[in-house]
Amino acid sequence: MKKIMNRPDRFANETLEGILRAHPRDLKAVGDDLREIVRANAPQQGKVAIATGGGSGHLPVFLGYVGEGLADGVAVGDVFNSPSAQQMYNVTRAIDGGKGVLYLYGNYGGDVMNFDMAAELASMDDIRVESIRVADDVASSPKGEEDKRRGVAGLFFAYKIAGAKAETGAELDEVVVVTNRALANLRSMGVALSPCIIPQVGKPGFTIGDDEMEIGMGIHGEPGIDRTKLQTADQIAETLTRTILEDGPYESGDEVAVLVNGLGATPQEELYIVYRKVDEILKEKGINVYHTYVGEFATSMEMAGMSLSILKLDDELKALLSAPAYSPFFSQPQL
């Protein structure tokens, strides 16, 4: 296991210590629990607050999307594990600005149960909480069972849209409505080329042959839908783009935002080679790309591979996507 770290059992905490030391102007811990992190200027009065959370090992997900025009706070679990309801609840209290709190997170069993429990705790304090689970991975459950799908890199779009809407001073219900609309317009799918190692486990949970890849594998190594020989960038782009377009509400004439996300070890050069073909296919289909993001937006530590996410835009979604945002991990001027 070739990781630059100290003690495996301190991996998540030392990451957080480094982040808090690196970005004191932007982030702070709630009390002295490193696992509860909020914007340095939280709570913001008169703004709907957005809380997120999940396991470590996915930077910039989740912590990296705490910032201006994004989320307000995050509860951070151990590598690939949910944080506790108590931590989520503490974050909720630290960010609530009187307009309610949106829980926005990936659709994983442990996270769902803990956020639900946190919402019950928060309701005892009369904090209004709404929950939205991002479930964008088309490979993780068939059509008709969308609510069982996992949340992957599309989380980025969820934060971007919800965060921008909250920043306008909108009410909690309004933030919920537009975020749900974005999620209905959002699909993702990925391929993995290599496994990653959970520091405390010390060996990969599965293997992928030297000439193989797995289509649809999850960001914790959840089984995908097809194990194949390593395909070319163009073939991968074809498979992902066509599957997403078939599953989602995309039509000729639509305007979309595209995210080509690296899982960790895959160089940005390769992501752009994939995008080249994605763009070609979208153009062929008459789908107009408004903005493209390429880089590492949701990772699995040192896993090699990538995912594609496509968000169909309407006027409001486009305006929200274009709004500026800033965190130590993601920064965008007004487009």
Binding site: G77, P83, M117, S140, V201
Partner: protein, 208 residues
């Protein structure tokens, strides 16, 4: 019989050592159709419950169980840890303000625990979860107590039902959590969460 907080504390102390002894067994089951951490989270979670109960100045069963639930969740925010924390919080509600409970109230408390898990996880019997051990076990417990059996004898029945339920999970397809991603491939494997359910009822039987 009369059950005090000390009875319950002692039962959890026993459950904690049961989880510790079965660490590898649970890891093995969870490695097949999950992420393999269940042995670790259950040991840590139940240890935290015992620590919380040992510190509790309380003799109010409800308050102690409430604190124990939060301790479980903080120490083990995994799926199973969170489900058991939810169970403990419901047990707390069911015993709020009480310093001692009867057999019947003990059964009510167990039923509340299972309802808590059901409400939290939204799974049904047959979905290949801990419920496949817990639901038949509590039903057996309730029937036995209602038919006048002693709590000891009733827990004996419940433990058997839990074990049968656990064994049956190998015929089921997983519908929740990580096991769900394995779909049909989850068949043939016994459910790790159901193993926890079985261990709990065997432990309760052995520690009364």
């Amino acid at each position: 019989m009369t059950i005090t907080f000390e009875t319950i504390r002692y039962q959890f102390e026993h459950l904690s050592s049961v989880m510790n002894e079965n660490k590898d067994f649970l890891i093995e089951l969870d490695s097949a159709i999950g992420d393999g951490d269940l042995g670790l989270t259950m040991s840590a979670g139940f240890a935290a419950v015992v620590e919380s109960m040992n510190k509790a100045a309380e003799t109010d069963i409800g308050r102690a169980l409430m604190q124990a639930g939060m301790a479980m969740n903080n120490a083990a925010p995994s799926t199973m840890g969170t489900l058991i924390a939810s169970a403990l919080l419901r047990m707390a509600q069911a015993t709020k303000g009480k310093k001692a409970i009867s057999d019947v109230e003990y059964v009510e408390m167990c039923k509340a625990a299972v309802a808590g898990i059901q409400d939290r996880g939204k799974a049904d019997v047959g979905d290949k979860t801990i419920l496949d051990a817990l639901v038949p076990a509590t039903r057996a417990l309730e029937e036995a107590v209602e038919s006048g059996a002693s709590l000891q004898d009733s827990l004996e029945k419940a433990a058997s039902a839990a074990e049968e339920g656990f064994d049956r999970t190998s015929t089921l397809v997983s519908k929740h959590g990580r096991g769900h991603y394995y779909g049909e491939k989850s068949k043939g494997h016994k459910d790790p969460g159901a193993a926890v359910g079985m261990l709990i009822f065997k432990g309760l039987r052995d520690s009364l």
